[in-house]
């Protein structure tokens, strides 16, 4: 074990990759699930020990294959990406026990092993994007996770899942290609692909007057915005989340867009630096406007949506708006709010999507009208929905309140106080769309369909309750979430770290 310790950064990516190969060879869904569960449980152990190392002794630089950067590929773990690694792997591990019954019910028996294989590949890609310090390597991992995501979505039973996967494939590939164009332009200017090295070679003097650098920034911003579904580049997301198998929706909603946000943070603050990102192009203003538009328009669309799964997808778009709002504020409190919300939103959306997975498992529908009275039949499950829903709204005592608090402080510090009212007003919209589901689920007479339903088996119930409990826990104990986020924000704004 001790000999493996220095290689933890590589193991973080290699273990799920090997796991994906092995699950692909299996015939039975249950054995594939068991292996995927094992891998998913190892991941947070590695991520947490990396985080502890970073907290103890500063950033880790791992040279892949012994080739020194900037020639070789460097895996670079600092506070920000160690935090994201813990988030992605932790949420994935917490959800994994849920998968067995849910996937067995929603995916054809002969395709279940493939499903887990694709899930592990997707996890490989997401962890790889997060851990690597090489701009082109990010593209490769991005495509690994994206290609496996298209398959995960297409495995949904509804035929509309196929069209959703196709649309996502088109949009996702355009986004990734924009990213490659941006990296190519940066390479032409700097002659380097290592993120740290690019940042050092992009002296402020070169950058201000250099048109290719600004073009690269524009290409990268648009490409990544497509991946993280920033309004109005979001059209692929609602259908993809609505028709994918429940477990895939929950996993993607919690992790995929968050990792894209991480790449955006890395580009804006570590590669280009605040001076280029926000001074030479009006990115801050544009992103602010789009974020506010997302917060309102997506929430309004959520209010009128009849399919609850798609309602949550629209809600995700709105919540991504809060995260990008924090980025566009670009001060310490705002950025902390963005990073904390990235963390908190992952936990609460995972809980909400898993609740719907349990509902689909019991009554075979997620249409709002079919959920009438389900709260009385499945009290624990729908109780978790209420708790996580309160967190989405941002009620005090839940995780959502913490992130919105930081965002509001950030807006105040900038002197943009009308923004505080906009944050509050858009939270009221969340009250409406979450309240609508709660009203139907708890205060209506159970329909025929619902009368037979009961809380799901323990393997499905526990992940739901743990994640819902976590939204309360992180509303009180903010040392881990907000503490690390504010340190990471401080480091990002301090320039190259």
């Amino acid at each position: 074990m001790r000999a493996l310790m220095p290689h933890l950064p590589a193991l973080q990516v290699v273990v799920p990759l090997i796991g994906a190969l092995l699950t692909a060879l299996m015939r039975r869904g249950t054995t594939a699930w068991a292996l995927a569960l094992l891998v998913s449980l190892i991941m947070p152990a590695i991520a947490i020990s990396l985080l502890l190392q970073v907290l103890g002794s500063g950033p880790i630089s791992y040279h892949l294959g012994g080739w020194a950067p900037p020639w070789g590929i460097e895996y670079r773990v600092d506070l920000l990406n160690a935090f994201i690694l813990v988030l992605v792997s932790g949420v994935a591990a917490a959800m994994m026990p849920f998968a067995r019954r849910s996937v067995a019910a929603e995916v054809d028996a002969d395709k279940q092993a493939w499903f887990y294989s694709m899930y592990l590949l997707c996890l490989t890609g997401l962890l790889g994007i997060t851990i690597t310090g090489d701009a082109f390597n990010i593209f490769v991992f991005m495509e690994i996770s994206a290609l496996s995501t298209y398959v995960l979505i297409a495995l949904g039973k509804d035929r509309r899942a196929l069209v959703a996967a196709y649309q996502y494939l088109i949009m996702g590939t355009i986004g990734a290609t924009f990213y490659v164009v941006g990296v190519g332009l940066l390479y032409l200017v700097t002659g380097s692909l290592n993120i740290l090295d690019i940042a050092q070679r992009l002296g402020p003097a070169v950058a201000e007057s250099s048109r290719p650098v600004l073009a690269a920034l524009a290409f990268l911003t648009v490409g990544i915005s497509l991946k993280l579904a920033l309004f109005p580049l979001h059209v692929w997301l609602p259908n993809a989340y609505a028709y994918a198998p429940s477990f895939a929706s929950a996993f993607l909603a919690a992790t995929a867009t968050k990792v894209a946000v991480y790449v955006l943070l890395r580009l804006f603050f570590s590669v280009f630096g605040v001076a280029i990102s926000f001074k030479s192009l009006p990115i801050s203003e544009v992103m602010l406007a789009l974020s506010v538009a997302a917060m309102f328009i997506a929430s309004l669309l959520a209010i009128f949506e009849q399919n609850v799964k798609r309602m949550l997808a629209y809600s995700s778009l709105g919540q991504i708006g809060y995260i990008t709002l924090g980025i566009s504020l670009a001060n310490e409190a705002g950025l902390t709010g963005g990073i904390v919300h990235l963390f908190n939103h992952a936990v609460m959306k995972a809980a909400l999507f898993l609740v719907l997975g349990a509902v689909l498992f019991r009554i075979g529908s997620v249409r709002l009208a079919d959920l009438a009275g389900i709260g009385r039949q499945m009290p624990l499950t729908m109780g978790a929905f209420v708790v996580a829903g309160l967190a989405i709204i941002g009620a005090p005592g839940t995780a959502g309140f913490i992130s919105k608090w930081y965002l509001a402080v950030g807006a105040f510090e900038k002197g943009w106080w009308p923004l505080v009212f906009l944050i509050l007003a858009s939270s009221m919209l969340a009250v409406v769309y979450i309240g609508r589901v709660v009203e139907v689920a708890w205060f209506r007479e159970p329909s025929v369909r619902v009368q037979q339903a009961t809380d799901p088996p323990l393997s499905m119930l526990m992940p739901v309750l743990i994640l819902a409990g976590a939204t309360i826990y992180f509303g009180f104990d903010t040392d881990v979430s907000a503490g690390i986020a504010s340190q990471a924000a401080h480091a990002l704004l301090g320039g190259i770290k």
């Binding site: 490769v140 035929r159 196929l162 196709y166 590939t173 164009v181 190519g184």
Partner: protein, 121 residues
């Protein structure tokens, strides 16, 4: 003369940008799912040119250190694009596979007809 020089200097970039925009236009403007993939492929391929053109030096050889050669091409972009080609092939294959499944499920690969059939449900 100056104009010709500028034109010759940027000629290859012009071709790259034309292919890029043409590919993107096809993706947006065409309703046929296969034609969209053709456009997407064109768009991706144009980026390969963006990487390869500046890396190729006329008269340069592969970077094998030998006293007989003085001028080398940059190998790194070539290798990067090799990776990108693999990604492009995988994307195209998956896209085509999805179109086959969509055709099985809907009996058409025209976007408008698919959306029309969604509306009937």
């Amino acid at each position: 003369m100056e104009v010709v020089k500028v034109f010759a200097g940027y000629y290859n970039y012009g071709v790259t940008i034309f292919l890029m925009v043409a590919g993107l236009y096809i993706v947006i403007a065409r309703g046929n799912l296969i034609k969209k993939l053709v456009g997407l492929s064109l768009f991706q391929t144009s980026v390969y040119l963006l990487y390869i053109e500046p890396a190729k030096i006329i008269g340069g050889t592969a970077p094998i250190i030998d006293p007989a050669f003085k001028l080398y091409s940059n190998p790194l972009p070539h290798v990067l694009i090799l990776t990108a080609i693999v990604v492009g092939v995988a994307t195209l294959a998956l896209g085509l596979a999805l179109v086959v499944r969509i055709h099985e499920a809907y009996g058409t690969i025209e976007e408008e007809e698919i959306f029309a059939r969604e509306g009937e449900e």
